[in-house]
Assembly symmetry: C2
């Protein structure tokens, strides 16, 4: 079991430092100190490696959101700062199809819980809030805003629209 953990740790390291595109089975094997075919004794394939990274990232992200102070504004701030601090992990969770059959049931819902809670359980508002946080972060990480854009101000406008004024 420890060998599998070594592999996943190495994969996480590669993705964090060199990006998702750098994650190749041969490169991963090098990092572990073994030849590529050996990986397949511990892991079903690249899919399982990525699914494991998705699960780890999702749990970490959820914890960050759950420990944010109450209020739409600080939840938004927690969302953004986690994503900017872990851009590769955010991409793993968000730009790769979620492998739901390989995830522990409930992790996805757990991530949504803090968002749902902050809008008082209102589904549509929760989804809209989630979408704007994701949209802002995704566009920022994709370098879609002008480099002189005042994104703090944009977040302020966005969050205010969702009832962040009073918080």
């Amino acid at each position: 079991m420890s060998r599998k953990d070594d592999i996943l740790d190495a994969a996480e390291r590669i993705v964090a430092t060199e990006g998702l595109d750098a994650l190749a089975m041969r490169r991963l094997a090098d990092e572990v100190g073994v030849k590529a075919p050996s990986l397949y004794k511990h892991v079903r394939g690249k899919d399982e490696v990525i699914a494991a990274l998705q699960e780890r990232a999702l749990r970490d992200f959820t914890a960050a959101l759950a420990s944010a102070p109450p209020g739409v504004r600080s939840l938004g701030a927690a969302y953004r700062s986690w994503a900017l601090a872990h851009p590769a992990a955010y991409a793993v969770v968000t730009r790769v199809p979620l492998q739901r059959d390989l995830l522990t049931p409930g992790v996805e819902e757990a991530a949504a819980a803090p968002v749902l809670a902050v809008v008082g359980g209102h589904q549509e508002r929760a989804r809209a809030l989630w979408a704007i946080a994701h949209g802002l972060v995704d566009l920022e990480l994709a370098d879609r805003f002008p480099k002189d854009a005042d994104l703090d101000a944009t977040w302020e406008v966005a969050v205010s629209a969702f009832g962040g004024v009073e918080t």
Copy 2:
């Protein structure tokens, strides 16, 4: 010049019907009826092919947004329906780094213009509106919402938050 257009048309066809991942230079050469190395006489490389698709998609998307009836609600509807009708093109523009050095200057700004106009030229509101439209579409295309989610209602809530009530 016509051979280059053949190549780009073929690339557009492959991406539209089989998705971005199916776009390989050998596969593209097959579609054109030539061997892969020949492509490089007409095109600098895969990057140029993708940049050309980005430009085409961006122009088409811009035209769709520009011809939407006035108002935040219908602009949102135009955004969503174009993206859902052309998911691969939306991905090309949104999930691949924009190759700005290979794009005609101004196409990116042109796409933003209708959004900026609908919020009366207010930069922060325009960016926030853009983010929520992109966030909703990206999450929907990535299959992130439950399949029974009422996304029309979610869009309504989102658009209302940005002053779509009166329109």
